[in-house]
Structure formats: C-alpha cells, structure tokens
C-alpha cells in the first residue's frame, strides 16, 4: 500500500457523498445534462468526476473492472483503500467498469442484466477528453423533446438501447463534470 492511496477521499463522507449522489442522480435522470461534482482527488489517470462516482457508488459488494491504462497500481490501491471494492480481471464479473472509451469498448462481455432482473447490469464510467451538450441526439425518458451529448460514437449506444430493458448504463466523466446515459436513451447521429 502506497501512502498516496490514503489521500483524496471525501473530507466528510456522509455529507460529501450526499451532495455528489444528488449530482449523479440528476445526471442519470436527465440524460444530456452535465453536472459538476467535487470532493475526490483520485490518483491519475482517474478524473475527479470518475473518482467521485467511485466513492459514491462502490463498496465491497461491487466488483470493479479497470480497463486499459486505468489498471494501475496506484488506482487499485486508491479504490481498495477508499471503497473496499474488489478489482476483477474479467469485465463480465464487474458491476462497474472504469476507463477511456477505446479501452472499455467493444461492449460485448459486460453484464447486461437478465430478463427478470435487468438491474443486474454493469455501469460503465467512461473518461472523456471532452463532454459537451452537443453532437449525438438523445431522446427518451428524462429528456424533454431532445438533448445532445458529445458521445465517442453512436452505434454502440444505439445497439445498447435496442436491448432495453437489458443493457448497460453509462456515466461519462471529464474533469470535474459528468453526464449520465442510461440504456433508456435512444441515440442518433446529431
């Protein structure tokens, strides 16, 4: 365990995580809106927003998959110390997966849920270079009319929505900002 792993958590966990969860919930409830979060200072390459999501949602009951360049010793140590979440080698075992889009894709292999329990599906926390309310067009629950979000691609998200009620849910993170993309959102090229 490196000393660096011990820092960067919430200063006042009950209150910080309550505020952070509100932002995450608003993001997931309103696809296309970008929320700002604070409170986590995770080691690189994890963004503040992804770090906040991990602190709010992960614990010993949620296996985490670290994709590509996110599978670092520092990050394993930080997640292990602050959340107790086990880091798994197989994406299919994960409830949460962390990484950049290129490392997380293709989306085959993650838990999609079961017809009788569609909630037993993975949530992907995607690190983005930019996150803007423009680009791909979103419609569906949580969206009045239409929304737009700078997604890394369209086809994978469109296919994911086509599996509804099965499917993956996404938290897209960039710096201290995050947006949600649940499986219920229909995605078209903008």
């Amino acid at each position: 365990m490196e000393a660096a792993a011990l820092g960067g958590g919430f200063g006042d966990a009950p209150v910080d995580s309550a505020r952070a969860f509100r932002a995450v919930m608003r993001a997931m409830a309103r696809p296309g809106t970008v929320e700002v979060v604070a409170g986590a200072a995770p080691p690189a390459p994890l963004s503040v927003a992804a770090g906040v999501a991990v602190l709010v949602l992960c614990d010993p009951g949620t296996p985490v998959y670290l994709a590509g360049g996110h599978d670092t010793r520092g990050l394993r140590g930080w997640i292990g110390f602050h959340t107790g979440a086990p880091v798994v080698a197989e994406r299919g075992d994960a409830m949460f997966a962390l990484g950049v889009w290129e490392s997380l894709a293709p989306l085959d292999g993650y838990a999609l849920g079961e017809p009788e329990f569609p909630d037993r599906s993975a949530t992907l926390i995607v690190e983005m270079d930019r996150l803007e309310p423009c680009g791909a067009r979103l419609t569906g629950p949580g969206i009045k009319g239409g929304a737009a979000l700078s997604l890394p691609e369209v086809a994978a998200f469109r296919d994911n929505a086509a599996r509804f009620p099965l499917g993956l849910d996404f938290l897209l993170c960039c710096g201290d900002r995050l947006a949600g993309l649940p499986r219920s959102s229909h995605v078209e090229a903008g």
Partner: protein, 288 residues
C-alpha cells in the same frame, strides 16, 4: 447531530440504495430489489420512502412530508421530525419551497418543478400481485411483457360495475414497457405522473423494492378504447377554499349524515384561502 450519521442510515446502506435508485431511473417502472433495513418505525409507516429520502437528502435540502395530502397528520409530522433530527434539513409545508417531498398516497396539487424530487411511500409495489400471488410468476410476466391479466381485471370491473371501478393505485404503463403501480394515489393524480418535470422515486420498505420515473417520462393509465381512463374526483368544490380543481376528502361533520368536501392537499387549500378564496362553508382568512 453527533448522535446520528447524516440522515440516519449508515453509508454502506445508502450506497446500496443509491445504486438501486440509479438502476431504477435507467429502467423506468421496473422494480429494483434492495436490502431494506429495519427503521425506527413500523412497516406500513413509510419505511421505504424514508430509506429513499435518507439516501437522497443533502444538507441544503428543504423537506416536506405529506400523508394523504396533509402536512399535519401523525405520519407526516413524525417523518418530518425524524429528518429534522437526523439530517438537520430545513422543513416546509409549502410545496413550491420544498426540494424533496415525501408523500403517502397523493401528488401535490401545485405543479412540481425541475429541481424537485417526489418520494412515494409504497405498500405493495407489484401491480400484478392481487392477480398472481407468486413473485416468480409476476417477475416472468414483467420480463415477457405479459400484461393481459391486468386488462382482464379492468374488464371485469366494467362487466360488473359498468365502468372501471379501480379508484386508486390505478395501474400505468411506463415509457411503453413496464406496467407499474403508482402507489395508492387516487386515479385523479394519475395524469400528473407523466411528463412531470420532477424526479419521482418509489420506495417499498416491507416489499424491498425501489422504482422510479425520470422527468418527462411517458406514463399511460391502462384503459380501453370504449372505456377511456377518467381522472375522477368528488363532484363538488372545496367547502373551505372553493377550489373546483383539487382532489377532495369527504368529512362527516355531524350524526345526521351532514358532510363537507375539503381539499385533501392542505397546503394548496391554505394558500388559496390566504389569497382570499372562500368556499361555501369557509370563513374569510383572519376571521375566527
């Protein structure tokens, strides 16, 4: 405040509930199982709603609790005090000022806004439960989108009563997929469920289920072409404030069968009377 963790529940429990809420928002109308905790109040008193509220509240929130529309009933008062004590949040009786509203069996008359969260207390989350007692079977029916039985039930209402007699907990279809029990709200409130700007969360403590309606979600009350859904209320105006558009409670006022109808939403009625509206039996504001 030092005696309790913020909002009473421990952090690991809140994380578990928060994950369930996110999945519920991602699959509108689907009931997500969660590990409901013992709360310092009996089942049937809103333990599901309380756990959802505890997982959602933040210190800056203004919290409102209503029971059948009223802010001043035992259940509402005790839950409000519970969170005043354990979360230190501000509380209000005014719908428009609240950021989180926990409700038992009503949707406030005042339209909700984008920044509000409505938390429902749910006794029986499964809309098919009275038709099919087996959880294994109802789960299969939801998976296969096999909702014919629900229409048979509504049809039996029509054949027996000449109209759909279901007056509360009227089943709805959410975003064209899941049939959902909107909790025992009067069917008068059903039209407010859909295309609502607020986030709506449903918590069933005893039955250990959480489900949700994201804002702006299509919610359709089940019906038939020749027997369309009708949001009904007592054919009267509020006796105190004169409102003709609000859901009314019938109050028996003497032993002679005398009765009056008053707004079930106490805040709505109070605000109308404060604005000078007077019903048939109401006294103008400020006059005893």
């Amino acid at each position: 405040m030092s005696e309790y963790n913020f909002a009473y529940l421990d952090e690991q429990t809140k994380r578990m509930i928060r994950r369930a809420i996110l999945k519920a928002l991602a699959i509108p109308g689907y009931q997500v199982p969660f590990a409901s905790r013992e709360m310092p109040m009996p089942y049937g008193w809103g333990t599901g709603g309380v756990q959802v509220s505890a997982a959602c509240l933040m210190p800056e929130d203004t919290f409102k609790v209503i029971d059948q529309g009223a802010d001043d009933t035992t259940n509402a008062v005790s839950i409000r005090k519970f969170f005043e004590k354990t979360a230190g949040v501000a509380t209000t009786e005014e719908t428009a000022r609240a950021s989180v509203i926990q409700t038992r069996h009503r949707i406030p008359e005042t339209p909700l806004g984008e920044d509000q969260i409505l938390v429902y207390q749910v006794p029986i989350p499964e809309p098919l439960r009275f038709l099919e007692p087996s959880e294994v079977e109802t789960r299969k029916m939801h998976a296969l989108e096999e909702y014919g039985l629900m229409h048979v039930k509504l049809y039996e209402d029509i054949s027996r009563h000449g109209a759909i007699a279901t007056a509360y907990a009227y089943p709805v279809k959410v975003a064209g997929r899941y049939v959902m029990d909107p909790s025992p709200i009067p069917k008068f409130d059903n039209p407010k469920l859909g295309d609502c700007p607020a986030i709506q969360l449903f918590g069933a403590g005893r039955e250990q289920r959480i489900y949700a309606l994201p804002p702006w979600t299509a919610v359709v009350s089940l019906d038939f072409e020749d027997h369309p859904f009708e949001a009904s209320k007592a054919a009267a105006d509020c006796a105190l404030c004169g409102a003709g558009d609000s859901y009314l409670d019938e109050v028996i006022v003497d032993d002679e069968g005398g009765r009056m109808f008053v707004c079930s939403d106490t805040d709505y009625c109070r605000a109308r009377r404060a604005a000078g509206h007077v019903g048939a039996q109401g006294a103008p504001e400020g006059v005893a």
